[in-house]
C-alpha cells in the first residue's frame, strides 16, 4: 500500500500574464515505511512538491493521497486538522519558536489535542528523550547549537506520532558532524518507528542515507530511480 500517492500533479504560478509551470505532471508513489530523498537543482520545484504532499500548498491539478486521505479534496480547515495529526515537519532553519523553551516547542502541536497538561508534558519529554535532548528541555532555542535545535524540531515533528515525516533540506544549515546526527535520527525514525520519510536535499551524502533517490528536473521526476539495500 502506498503511503504517499501523487498522480499527474501540476503546479502553475501565475505572475501577471505569465504562467510559470513549476511541476508538470508528477507521479510519485512512496510505500509505507519508505525513506525517499528528493534531489534536484535549486528552483527545480522540490520544496513545492514537498509542500503539496504535506498539505500546506495546493496543486493546480492532479491528485495527492496520503494514507487514506485525498488531501487535494480537503478544505483549508480540514487540511490544517489533517496536518496536525498526520504529518511531521522538519525545516532547513529549524523554525523553533524563540520565546518557547525546547520542551514547550515540542509540546506545541499537542496543544491542538485534548491531552491534559501533564500528558502533554510527558509526551514532549519522551520525544525529547528520543532525540537525546531530555537534559535540555528547559533551554531556549538561542541557548542551543544548530544541530540541537534541529533535534528539538525533530522531536516536535514526531510528538503527535504522525505516519509521514517531510523534511526540507534538514541538514542544509548544519556542519558535517551535526548533519550526521540528524541523518542518524531520521534513519532511526524510519527503522524503529516505521515512519515514512520524504526528504528534500542537495547533499548527496544525505541522500545516500535514504532507500530511494528521486531526481526532479524542470518540473518533472527523472525516470531513473536509485534504490539501495536496506541494512537491517
Amino acid at each position: 500500500m502506498a503511503s504517499v500517492d501523487v498522480r499527474q500533479v501540476r503546479k502553475v504560478y501565475k505572475r501577471d500574464a505569465e504562467e510559470i509551470v513549476v511541476l508538470n505532471g508528477i507521479d510519485l508513489q512512496v510505500p509505507d515505511g519508505e525513506f525517499v530523498a528528493l534531489m534536484g537543482p535549486s528552483g527545480s520545484g522540490k520544496t513545492t512538491l514537498l509542500n503539496l504532499v504535506a498539505g500546506i500548498d495546493r496543486a493546480t491539478s492532479g491528485s495527492i493521497t496520503v494514507g487514506q486521505t485525498n488531501v487535494t479534496s480537503l478544505s483549508e480547515g480540514e487540511l490544517a486538522r489533517w496536518r496536525s495529526r498526520n504529518v511531521g515537519f522538519i525545516f532547513q532553519f529549524y523554525n523553533l519558536i524563540p520565546v518557547l523553551s525546547a520542551v514547550e516547542n515540542v509540546e506545541l502541536p499537542l496543544l491542538l489535542t485534548s491531552l491534559s497538561r501533564s500528558q502533554r508534558r510527558e509526551r514532549a519529554l519522551t520525544a525529547l528523550k528520543v532525540v537525546g535532548l531530555a537534559d535540555r528541555a528547559k533551554h531556549y532555542p538561542r541557548q542551543l547549537s544548530g544541530g540541537q535545535e534541529q533535534r528539538v524540531a525533530i522531536a516536535r515533528a514526531i510528538v503527535t506520532d504522525p505516519s509521514v515525516i517531510v523534511a526540507d533540506e534538514p541538514t542544509g544549515d548544519l556542519d558535517a558532524k551535526s548533519a550526521e546526527d540528524i541523518l542518524n535520527l531520521l534513519d532511526l525514525l524510519n527503522r524503529e518507528f516505521k515512519k515514512t520519510i520524504v526528504m528534500v536535499t542537495h547533499d548527496p551524502r544525505a541522500a545516500g542515507r535514504a532507500h530511494v533517490e528521486r531526481h526532479l528536473e524542470k518540473g518533472q521526476l527523472a525516470s531513473s530511480i536509485v534504490r539501495r539495500e536496506v541494512t537491517a
Binding site: I56, A80, R83, R85, P109, L111
Partner: protein, 397 residues
C-alpha cells in the same frame, strides 16, 4: 487557556515594547478617565441643581457686584418667592493651599432655599444668633479638625474685602448632605453672615467701602415658570446702570465650574484625540509583533493551528495589553482624583465640586474603552496573520 503561556511569553520577550505600550496606553486611559470624571461631576452638579432656584449676577462679569437695592426690586416681581444675597468671599484659611470655597450669605433667606445643607436645629439657631458665626461643610470640618465652638480667622484675597484685615469666625454648625446625596451636594464649603461682611467693609476708607451683592440666589414659586421670571428680572434692570444676567442654578454652577462653556467641548475633544492615540499605539505595536513573526505564524499554521486560532492568539496579546493598560490607567485615575483636592491650589479650582471621585460607571466605561480600542487596534494585524499564506511566509526567510 492552554495558549495563555504562549501569549504571555511573547509579551514578556519583547518586554520593552510591551511595557512602553502599556505605559503609553495607561496614560491615555488615565487622562480619559480623569476628564470623564470632571465631565461627570459637572453633569451631576448641573443635574442636582434645584430647578426652582435661579441666580442673578452682574451682566458683565461675576467679579462685579450689583447694588443691594436690587434685592427689593427683584423681590417685588411676580413669581419670586425668596431672594438672598450671596457673595463669594474668597477667604483664605491659613494658606492658599488650604483653600475651600466660602460665601457670605443672607442666612435667614438663603438657607430656607437650600434644604440640602443639613444642620442640627440647635446649631443652626446658634449660628443665626452669632454675628461671627460660620457653618462649615463636613469635609472641611474633617480636613481641618473644626468642631462646633472653634474659632478661626480668614482673610479674603479680593482687595475690597481686605480693608478690615482678617475676619474672625466661630464654628456654630457643621452641615452634611442628606442621606443618598453625598455625590451631588458639596460639603466642602463654608458659609457666614453677609451682614458681618457688610459691617466689616462699611465705612472703611479705600476702594469698595461698600459690599454690594455678588449674586442674588432666587427661589421662584413655580419651577415651570422659571424662564419667564429670569427674563422678567433681566428686563427689569435693562435700563439701569448695572444690567443683570439671570440663569438657572444648574447653568450658573456649570458655567462657574467650567469657567467657559467650551470646557466641556474641549475636554471631550481631548478625550477623543487621546482615544485615537491609543488606537495608533496598539495598532503599531501589534503590527510590529505580527511582522516580525511572519515565519513563526507560518510555522504554527503548518503544525495545524487553524487560522482563526492564530488570529485569536494575536488578538489575545492585544487584549492582554489593553486590559493591563486599562486597569492601570483607571487605578491611577482613582488615586489621582482622590488626592487632587489635597494638592496645593486645587481647592481653588475644584472646591466647587462635590467630593470628586472616579465613579464605578466612569471607571468601567473607560476600562471597556481601553479593551475595545486596544483589541480593536490589534484586529487589522491579526487579520493579516489570519490571511497569511504558509508557503509565502516560509519562502521569505
Amino acid at each position: 487557556m492552554k495558549f495563555l503561556p504562549y501569549v504571555l511569553k511573547h509579551l514578556r520577550r519583547s518586554w520593552v515594547r510591551t511595557l512602553s505600550t502599556i505605559v503609553g496606553m495607561a496614560l491615555c486611559i488615565f487622562l480619559i478617565c480623569v476628564l470623564q470624571t470632571v465631565l461627570d461631576a459637572i453633569r451631576k452638579t448641573t443635574e442636582a441643581a434645584d430647578p426652582s432656584r435661579v441666580v442673578t449676577r452682574h451682566a458683565v462679569s461675576l467679579t462685579f457686584n450689583m447694588p443691594l437695592a436690587y434685592k427689593p426690586r427683584i423681590q417685588g416681581l411676580a413669581g419670586v418667592k425668596r431672594v438672598a444675597v450671596s457673595n463669594w468671599f474668597g477667604g483664605v484659611y491659613r494658606d492658599m493651599k488650604d483653600f475651600f470655597p466660602n460665601f457670605a450669605v443672607e442666612s435667614e433667606d438663603y438657607f430656607p432655599m437650600y434644604p440640602e445643607y443639613v444642620v442640627p436645629p440647635a446649631d443652626y439657631a446658634a449660628y443665626l444668633a452669632d454675628m461671627q458665626g460660620a457653618l462649615v461643610g463636613r469635609d472641611v470640618a474633617t480636613k481641618y479638625g473644626f468642631k462646633v465652638g472653634d474659632s478661626f480667622q480668614m482673610e479674603s484675597f479680593i482687595p475690597p474685602y481686605r480693608v478690615s484685615g482678617p475676619l474672625k469666625f466661630n464654628v456654630r454648625g457643621i452641615y452634611d448632605a442628606p442621606p443618598g446625596r453625598k455625590s451631588s451636594v458639596n460639603v466642602g464649603m463654608m458659609f457666614f453672615h453677609y451682614k458681618y461682611l457688610y459691617e466689616s467693609v462699611r465705612g472703611r476708607r479705600g476702594v469698595g467701602s461698600y459690599a454690594g451683592a455678588g449674586t442674588f440666589s432666587i427661589q421662584v414659586s413655580d419651577p415651570a415658570r422659571a424662564n419667564a421670571v429670569m427674563k422678567a428680572i433681566d428686563t427689569n434692570f435693562e435700563n439701569s446702570d448695572v444690567q443683570t444676567k439671570t440663569e438657572t442654578e444648574g447653568a450658573f454652577l456649570a458655567g462657574f465650574i467650567a469657567l467657559t462653556g467650551n470646557l466641556v467641548g474641549l475636554l471631550n475633544g481631548v478625550g477623543l484625540a487621546v482615544g485615537f492615540t491609543i488606537l495608533l499605539v496598539t495598532a503599531n505595536t501589534m503590527s510590529m509583533a505580527v511582522r516580525e513573526r511572519r515565519t513563526e505564524i507560518a510555522v504554527l499554521k503548518t503544525l495545524g493551528f487553524p487560522s482563526a486560532l492564530v488570529m485569536g492568539l494575536i488578538l489575545g496579546e492585544a487584549f492582554a495589553i489593553a486590559t493591563a493598560s486599562g486597569v492601570i490607567g483607571v487605578v491611577m485615575a482613582r488615586l489621582a482624583v482622590g488626592n487632587l483636592a489635597n494638592l496645593p491650589f486645587m481647592g481653588l479650582l475644584l472646591g466647587n465640586f462635590p467630593a470628586l471621585e472616579v465613579s464605578p460607571t466612569v471607571g468601567l466605561l473607560t476600562l471597556s474603552l481601553a479593551v475595545v480600542l486596544g483589541t480593536g487596534a490589534g484586529f487589522v494585524p491579526a487579520l493579516g496573520a489570519y490571511r497569511s499564506r504558509i508557503t509565502e511566509a516560509l519562502r521569505s526567510i
